[in-house]
């Protein structure tokens, strides 16, 4: 363990930048798990599917990552809405969410992962764009655009979702569903439709997060598993349904992971998120922003 101030500051900065990207991966879980009470552990698998879409788009049509976001995020929205309809029809309606629903998402996670292996193999895939190679520096601190773009896009996406939820009618219905589903039904709004839209948004965010992921690093199908821990840790630590909480928790996790990688070595970093999750669950299950 070799310590220096430069290393510390650099680790802190890259941790914050990484945290911004993590917030993009976790916002979907915050919506699904925190607000809609749907335990979509297949969320990271959808994210990896997004990364592969970006790869396929780049490989066959030379899509720029931003073009990929514009093309695939709406597809994710539609797919998410259809997927929620099916889930609602087969599980939620029957009241089977707990055991069967949970196992269902586990099965979907597995199907997506193995499906990607069967279609694209287990090799690492990556994409590139002319502006991704350069770095961006202030003084002695430098951050590559490969990390900076996901950070900025992630923050923008969080801001947009927060605005949508707090300013529009549908958005407020979604927040109301998160608080009291029965009351929403009593005042005449349709909670199923609100949940459907929210799930669509969450799935679109997974696709965007996947595209951001493949900007940062090469991707292979099983990489999604690491993000189960990260996204759920962030969601719980952030207080389940809070978007500012999600952002803060992402930054904490990003910094904690970068510090672990810098000072103890990368082989310990998978344990950070799950360790953080276990500690949060044991000590303060309500999270930072929980009520």
């Amino acid at each position: 363990m070799n310590f220096s101030w430069d290393l510390l500051v650099n680790a802190l900065i890259s941790g914050v930048v990484l945290g911004g990207f993590y917030s993009a991966t976790a916002i979907g879980v915050t919506i699904e798990f925190g607000m809609l009470d749907i335990v979509n552990i297949a969320h990271p698998a959808f994210m990896i599917a997004g990364a592969y879409l970006a790869y396929l788009g780049w490989n066959s049509f030379a899509f720029d990552p931003f073009v990929a976001i514009a093309v695939f995020a709406p597809l994710g929205l539609l797919f998410g809405r259809a997927f929620y309809r099916a889930y609602h029809f087969f599980f939620e309606r029957r009241g089977d969410e707990s055991l069967q629903g949970l196992a269902f998402f586990f099965g979907i996670l597995f199907i997506v992962e193995i499906g990607l292996v069967l279609m694209c193999g287990v090799d690492y895939r990556s994409i590139t764009a002319p502006y991704l190679g350069s770095t961006f520096g202030i003084g002695r601190i430098s951050v590559s655009w490969r990390l900076m773009i996901p950070f900025l896009v992630g923050l923008a996406m969080l801001g947009a979702i927060q605005l949508y939820l707090s300013r529009t009618f549908t958005g407020r219905t979604i927040l109301a569903v998160a608080q009291d589903l029965e009351a929403v039904r009593l005042i005449g709004a349709d909670p199923v439709r609100a949940k459907e839209i929210a799930f669509g948004i969450a799935t679109a965010s997974a696709i965007v997060a996947g595209i951001l992921l493949i900007i940062i690093q090469p991707v292979e199908p099983s990489i999604g598993r690491e993000y189960i821990g990260r996204t759920f840790a962030i969601c719980v630590l952030g207080g389940m349904a809070s978007i500012p909480g999600t952002l803060l928790a992402s930054l904490i996790l990003g910094v904690a992971e970068t510090f672990t990688t810098t000072f103890f070595g990368p082989s310990w970093s998978p344990a950070v998120s799950f360790g953080l999750l276990l500690v949060t669950l044991a000590l303060r299950p309500a999270g930072i922003f929980g009520r």
Partner: protein, 330 residues
């Protein structure tokens, strides 16, 4: 004669509620006998396939004690399984003990882990428990990957001990052992299900708060369930290093183990002890056939598809289908 006919002594020497238990023991004994007779007349491949299916009977049954009876979904089966594996690896490196000692030690290690998980379940209900078990498995995997004594991330070779002349090959011995273990596991599940423990666990599954209010000792019951379940999973993992003779964290903590041990009880039916057995035999054989005929990646894909298909079309599994069919006939 009039009324007394209804009170005529029935000639049933064994109480009715023990029939199933006897059947399980008998089935186990028959399987052992069959294996003994067949000996080394068949290709070793069949033993390896049988070993895998038996291993999944143990894992599925163990998962079901907690997941099916108490409704606590454990995503971390691979963690307990690997705890058993690595107990064997450590003991093998230190002392070279007989396998049965390794298995007992694995049962203690994984049982203690299960006991710890039980305390976790004290605070965490439903989904949070499931995610915590997943977390536990990953944390354990990271620790093992960084522990150079057991090979770290690179894995470790395990030397199979010498075998006595009674068995044709090492695979033969392992299969015998697994039959014994599977029989014990199914017996344990049956005993739990039929006793007050099973009734208490079902009450917890249906409504934990209400059960506690009625005086069900929920903590004690959950601890019993998690410990039994964990210990059985660990015992299933203990012979694994000898079976593959090379273990690395990726194999021992494989996601396929977690998925299979959830899919098998759900496909078979979680309500009864025979559901996971049926599910394990069904899915296990399908996987063996597909691995040989297509590829091992495709077989996992089909397990996932079968799981989802059963959840959608037959949420109570084979047990539910059989019960519905019986009810239809009456």
């Amino acid at each position: 004669m009039s009324a007394p006919t209804t009170f005529a002594p029935r000639k049933v020497p064994v109480p009715r509620h023990l029939h199933a238990g006897l059947a399980i023991v008998l089935a186990g004994a028959l399987l052992v006998a069959a294996t003994f007779v067949v000996g080394s007349h068949v290709s070793e491949y069949y033993y390896l396939a049988a070993y895998t299916i038996l291993q999944f009977i143990v894992l599925g049954t163990a998962w079901n004690i907690l997941g099916g009876y108490a409704g606590y979904v454990n995503f971390g089966t691979a963690g307990f399984f690997a705890a058993g594996c690595y107990t064997t690896v450590v003991l093998n490196k230190l002392f070279q003990l007989p396998l049965i000692v390794d298995m007992s030690a694995a049962a203690v290690t994984a049982g203690l882990m299960g006991f710890g998980t039980g305390y976790l379940a004290l605070r965490l209900r439903g989904v949070f428990f499931s995610i915590a078990t997943l977390a536990l498995a990953i944390v354990l995997q990271t620790i093992i990957s960084n522990w150079s004594f057991v090979g770290g991330g690179r894995g470790v070779y395990v030397v199979r001990p010498e075998i006595s002349g009674l068995f044709g090959s090492y695979a033969h011995l392992l299969v015998m052992l697994m039959i014994g273990l599977a029989t014990c596991a199914v017996l344990a599940a049956w005993a739990v299900e039929k006793s007050w423990i099973g009734i208490g666990l079902a009450a917890i599954r249906d409504n934990e708060t209400a059960a506690e209010t009625c005086g069900v000792p929920s903590l004690r019951l959950k601890l019993i369930a998690t410990t039994t379940s964990g210990a059985l999973m660990g015992m299933a993992g203990a012979p694994f290093p000898y079976y593959v003779s090379y273990v690395d964290p990726a194999t021992a903590f494989s996601l396929a183990i977690a998925v299979n041990s959830i899919a098998m009880p759900l496909v078979g039916g979680t309500a009864t002890w025979w559901g996971p057995v049926v599910g394990a035999i069904m899915l296990g054989s399908v996987q063996q056939i597909l691995t040989v005929t297509i590829s091992s990646a495709a077989n996992l894909f089909i397990v996932g598809v079968l799981l989802v298909a059963f959840l959608i079309a037959a949420p109570r599994g084979v047990v539910g289908i059989v019960r519905g069919w019986k009810r239809g006939r009456q």
